[in-house]
Symmetry: C2
Subunit: 421 residues, 2 copies
């Protein structure tokens, strides 16, 4: 419900801020407790590391000095210990130049994305996003007043040639100087579940280098939220590993997907000039994420329980991914196009000839059968490259049990078979 | 150190964002480990409720369902249980209409202030602040591009007649329509340590009501951060209690000062039209504060340990306040004007004839004696009503021990006596 805001002292940003369409979906799910929700991208509650966190809290709070530090204020950019441990881990993972001072700890990866956007984007500035993309970030960009332009993806992620084409268009239209960010996910994307191959990473970085030589400065945003949820396949290095000078790529990560979202911690690593401004803005926002959460996370990294928790999640998601994908293969007509994910939380499907939009016949028939999905529509930006496909959807295997994933896919299959031309 | 930002893709807000002057002070303190810092407004580490939080964590994490909920994602506006408990407490404290849906849980009170500002203030909009005021909020307003206009305070807080005068000036200059917020602290202000008397609260609300009848809409921001730290004197109702219609005042509170800043939790309660937009913007920022912190805080409120922690802090601060104020009385010349605080964390002093600005002779001589204070300058806004006093300073008794508070005041007394005309 929209409240009338006429005559009220609201900012331009507030007037642009959407109620996220996903809220509408989630409220639908809450109203129907028997609904099989394949929509929410939450994590599997059964995989959360309650035991290790209980032990860590007990140890931490029994130690006077560490307890006092954890429960008091911290520093805006984040716990020095956590940043040291994270930098060490990132160096091992191929970001050889990672230093604690190049890192900011944020409230989930989300706050890094928000603060980065606030630090770089004025209304009318241009952001290129892989399309479809993480729809919550689309909301951030809309509220910021950005002009969001989509770059086509295929079953391997962002298409390098499509990026070149978009950049060329910006030169042609004289708008290239408004480009601020190129946003993409490098691991098991939300919503498509695809992992950007190493060759593409290199190609994209080449395009970016050449473009930076040619025109005004901009940043590449590598959202690596699902990196730790690799279920099989190649362990690609970060896109950021191609930027050892730390000058053109900012990588955003999270502790939510592979440890515990309730701690509300994420991070980013990027060039000093943007980190410096982001830290100032975070100083305005909250002068630091929960120091207690950060102390827990640092302790978990020191003792290795973060590694165990990630392995546990991977094992659970592997079974759940299999349950969902096998049921899709079993119950869906062969015309349905399914991208089988090798990591992350999502499977993407296209149903030739079926409109999957919210309030479509397909959506409503599934809603009656108590199955919920995220319509592809929510994931595409306004300026798609070519017409927006209307036949796609995102399915998540994060929350539902294997049994319900199978049952949800079975019910979907009935409606698809009935409706497919 | 300022990095060159020429040609870089930074937003207007990022370019306006300051490095807070207090960072400079705090880094000075860190470089000199023997420094007696009366500058930092941190809380007394010895008063932090480690024991209760350890017990709460153990109970919470041993309970499968609650543990899973606490460690997973929550809702953007905050834990329903915590908001229910807080609304109940606020109703008992005189906000008879407080409902959970009128509350947002934020990362400290700071994020409520930031988000409120982001939701209401565009560059060039006007914010009236009591002067001197909370300097971190001045940074938020500057980054937002607000025009910040000061309203004089005396030893009882914001002067109602000064507010009337400022409003009249805005009418005269034709700028009244740009007014968005009037910001004040109602309890033991930062930096002056004064508690706004009930008569003044009523008078201010009358002025606000009359002004809203006369012109465009704006909001009053009641920052009640130090409410729980009442050491003695009258227990004034919230300014917000004069707004049972919940239409013109937003009150901001925190769990940092009387429980544990490390949990990084605060809250606000205000009119639905602004809360609605703030929730959307918080959705962009981080879609919810730490769910684990919120579960701990709710548990603490249910079992009453939050009440005990607040009482413990009050008792400690009472002794520390006495130690500081008694030493000021003992060692300082009688010409020094001291506002003796009845709550909060700060004492404000004016030293007739002595310039207390950063890098002044007084500042430097005290720095050599290893005593640090917050120069009054940092707390005044650009547009003061009348000339800015240059002889004031803020002293905090939050962190230093009673012994060091006394020693700091003694060394100050030496320099004051030596320099006072």
């Amino acid at each position: 419900m929209e409240l009338s805001t006429q005559g009220l002292p609201l900012s331009q940003r507030a007037m642009r801020a959407n109620i996220s369409p996903i809220s509408w979906l989630l409220s639908k799910a809450l109203e129907h407790p028997n609904m099989i929700s394949l929509a929410a991208g939450f994590v599997d509650g059964g995989g959360l590391p309650s035991g290790p966190i209980a032990r860590i809290c007990a140890e931490l709070l029994a130690d006077g000095g560490r307890s006092m530090a954890a429960l008091n204020y911290g520093t805006t950019a984040g716990s020095p210990l956590l940043r040291e441990l994270l930098a060490e881990q990132l160096r091992k993972e191929g970001l050889s130049s990672a230093k604690p001072e190049d890192l900011i700890i944020s409230n989930g990866g989300q706050q890094s994305l928000f603060t980065l956007t606030d630090a770089t984007v004025d209304p009318g500035d241009i952001v290129l996003v892989e399309d479809p993309t993480y729809f919550v970030y689309l909301d951030v960009l809309r509220a910021a007043g950005a002009r969001v332009i989509g770059v086509t993806t295929d079953e391997y992620g962002l298409v390098p040639e499509a990026l070149e084409e978009r950049l060329e268009e910006l030169h042609q239209s004289g708008e290239r100087h408004r480009l601020r960010l190129i946003y993409l996910m490098s691991y098991y994307t939300n919503p498509k579940g695809v992992n950007l191959p190493w060759e593409r990473r290199k190609r994209i970085d080449e395009i970016v280098r050449a473009e930076l030589e040619r025109g005004d400065s901009f940043l590449v945003v590598e959202d690596a939220a699902y990196r730790e949820l690799r279920l099989e396949g190649p362990d690609e290095p970060f896109l950021k590993s191609l930027d050892p000078e730390n000058e053109r790529i900012i990588v955003v990560g999270t502790f939510s997907k592979a440890f515990a979202p309730g701690l509300r911690l994420g991070w980013c690593m990027g060039p000093p000039w943007v980190l410096d401004r982001m830290a100032r803005l975070k100083g305005n926002q909250d002068f630091g994420s929960s120091n207690f959460s950060q102390a827990i996370m640092a302790h978990a990294m020191q003792e290795g329980s973060s590694v165990d928790a990630a392995e546990n999640f991977r094992s659970r998601y592997r079974s759940k991914r299999d349950a969902l994908v096998n049921a899709m293969r079993e119950f869906w007509p062969p015309e349905a196009q399914i991208i089988e994910p090798h990591g992350g939380l999502y499977a993407w499907a296209s149903l030739p000839g079926i409109d999957t939009d919210p309030e479509s016949e397909f959506f409503n028939r599934l809603f009656e059968k108590e199955v919920l999905y995220v319509p592809g529509k929510y994931c595409f930006c306004e300026e798609t490259q070519g017409p927006r496909p209307k036949d796609s959807m995102r399915l998540s295997y994060g929350v539902a049990s294997e049994e319900l994933l199978r049952e949800g896919a079975r019910r979907m299959g009935e409606v698809i078979a009935d409706m497919m031309p």
